[in-house]
Amino acid sequence: MITSWPALAVVGAGIDLQSSFTSTLEGFGLSQGTAHLLWLPLPMLLVLVAAVIGVLVNVWLERKISAAVQQRIGPEYAGALGVLQPMADGLKLLFKEDVIPHRADGLLFTLGPVLVLVPVILSWLVVPFGQNLLISDVGIGVFLWIALSSIQPIGLLMSGYASNNKYSLLGGLRAAAQSISYEIPLALAVLAVVMMSNSLSTVDIVNQQSGAGILSWNIWRQPVGFLIFWICALAECERLPFDLPEAEEELVAGYQTEYAGMKFALFYLGSYINLVLSALLVAVLYLGGWGFPFPVEWLAGALGQSVDAPLVQVITGSLGIVMTVLKAYLLVFIAILLRWTLPRVRIDQLLDLGWKFLLPIALVNLLVTAGLKLAFPAFFGG
């Protein structure tokens, strides 16, 4: 039985770190504005650090899982099970010489990787880890992410053009074409979810799925949308089987060919942060976000505890973060496994899949969702 009993969707106020932080500072005699100003950088820094650590974990997972797929051992000596290997990779890139090729356009060459990385990091603004555990619950939520991710191709085109290299230019053009093609089915899949939850805000989308634990997650109501979103997210992240912009057999390394040192690291960082971000958004849109497979309120009720008790709130908050990260990394695991098992598609197959298959299916999915919403408003968020 797939339901979203709205009456049972107990949405507590949760822990509000911001108000407690500012009120503590005001207790020390600071003005409200100063306290707010001191609060502002904290969540941003926290999310930035979380994103970078997420990338390090991701790189380690990629190395270990690819090794397991190919029946190797993988990194072993740098720390236990090679967990320090990503740090070594990063340090190596940090200390490498920064080369700008002769006759390349220095300004655009430098600006390109920055334009690729910044929108991805900005998009973390809307990723929720709990009721109040996100930087900003902006009203346009997922739409902001879609809009920001459309800036990325400009950075790719810029670095492809500025490198003064045929392979780079071709890689940049491919990246832009791919990104534009897959943005449309992606947005349509998101639109179906948004239609069911009546809101663009990521927090509202998760709350709408929190009624009956695992049964009320969107994946049961949007199975087609989930698949479309996941395929498009992989294409947007340029992960295999869609890594045509950097197909090494054809284009050396695509738009990254001429890059070295920290500028290359920015691309590297950008693509992995984007992968984690996409996985987090799949978790938020389709897998119930920070929700536990069965409602935490029931558990607290069974144990005779009030949901609003401070200790219970701390536990549920931590559980929410753990659940979000767990779901995201399960998806990252699937993405890595896909990368090391599937062959790459050709460029014409890629465009055919995007325009002739995913786009019509996404439109039909949207139409069916709208019809179901009108027919069964109780189950499809009337």
């Binding site: 504005g33 100063t34 707010h36 100003l37 655009l108 902006v138 009203g139 346009i140 739409f143 902001l144 879609i146 809009a147 920001l148 459309s150 800036i151 191709p153 400009i154 085109l157 810029m158 492809g160 053009y161 230019l169 940049g172 053009l173 832009a176 074409a177 990104s179 534009i180 943005e183 663009l200």
Partner: protein
């Protein structure tokens, strides 16, 4: 409140500066690729101004449509026909530049006069914030339905027109001149290179 207003002022000044300087760069720079990239910056700063006006949905739509689609397509077109050749000398280039500069200056003065003489209602209407998304939807499907649908029909016509122009092979005669279309120029038959070469080799073998 003072911190908020100061931040707003600083953002407004920075955005306006990038907007004006960027637009001047788009028009005046000789390198067309730089102009296209600067255009993206201009669009982004316009989106920033929308954000300052509390119109977050419009700002995101501006980024999605203008930066993500229009500007990327412009860049795409420039890079696909990326010929690094010097433009042919145009006679009387200086005169043309002066004339167009005068026209632009006149237009600017006209707009400036309108700007200075209009009694603006200060402060403007209260911004709706996040509710504006819902209101835009309601308006698009009620009183602005006809313009909205007309725009979509216009876009459909433009798309069909582009397909017709790009794929002339579907017509036996040229759309514009009415003459029979030269099908050979439109789509060359694929020459099976591998088959041909292997056929040549067998011939060689036969000769031997």
């Amino acid at each position: 409140m003072t911190i908020a207003s100061v931040t707003q002022l600083v953002c407004f000044i920075a955005l306006s500066l990038t907007l004006v300087l960027g637009s001047l760069g788009v028009v005046l720079l000789p390198n067309i690729v730089y102009s296209a990239f600067l255009l993206a910056g201009v669009f982004l700063s316009v989106a920033g101004l929308y954000l300052l006006l509390n119109a977050s949905f419009i700002a995101a739509a501006q980024v999605l449509v203008y930066v993500g689609a229009v500007n990327v397509l412009i860049l795409f077109a420039i890079m696909l026909v990326n010929k690094k050749e010097a433009m042919a000398e145009i006679p009387g280039l200086l005169l043309r530049r002066v004339l167009s500069g005068v026209v632009c200056l006149g237009l600017f003065l006209l707009i400036l006069r309108v700007d200075l003489t209009t009694p603006w209602a200060v402060p403007g209407p209260t911004p709706l914030g996040d509710d504006s998304t819902v209101l835009i939807g309601i308006h698009l499907f009620s009183d602005y339905l006809l313009p909205f649908e007309l725009a979509s029909v216009l876009l459909l016509m433009a798309m069909i027109g582009a397909i017709v122009l790009a794929r002339r092979d579907v017509f036996s005669s040229d759309v514009i001149t009415g003459e029979a279309a030269d099908q050979g120029l439109i789509e060359k038959e694929r020459t099976p290179l591998l088959l041909e070469s292997t056929a040549g080799e067998t011939n060689l073998l036969e000769k031997v």
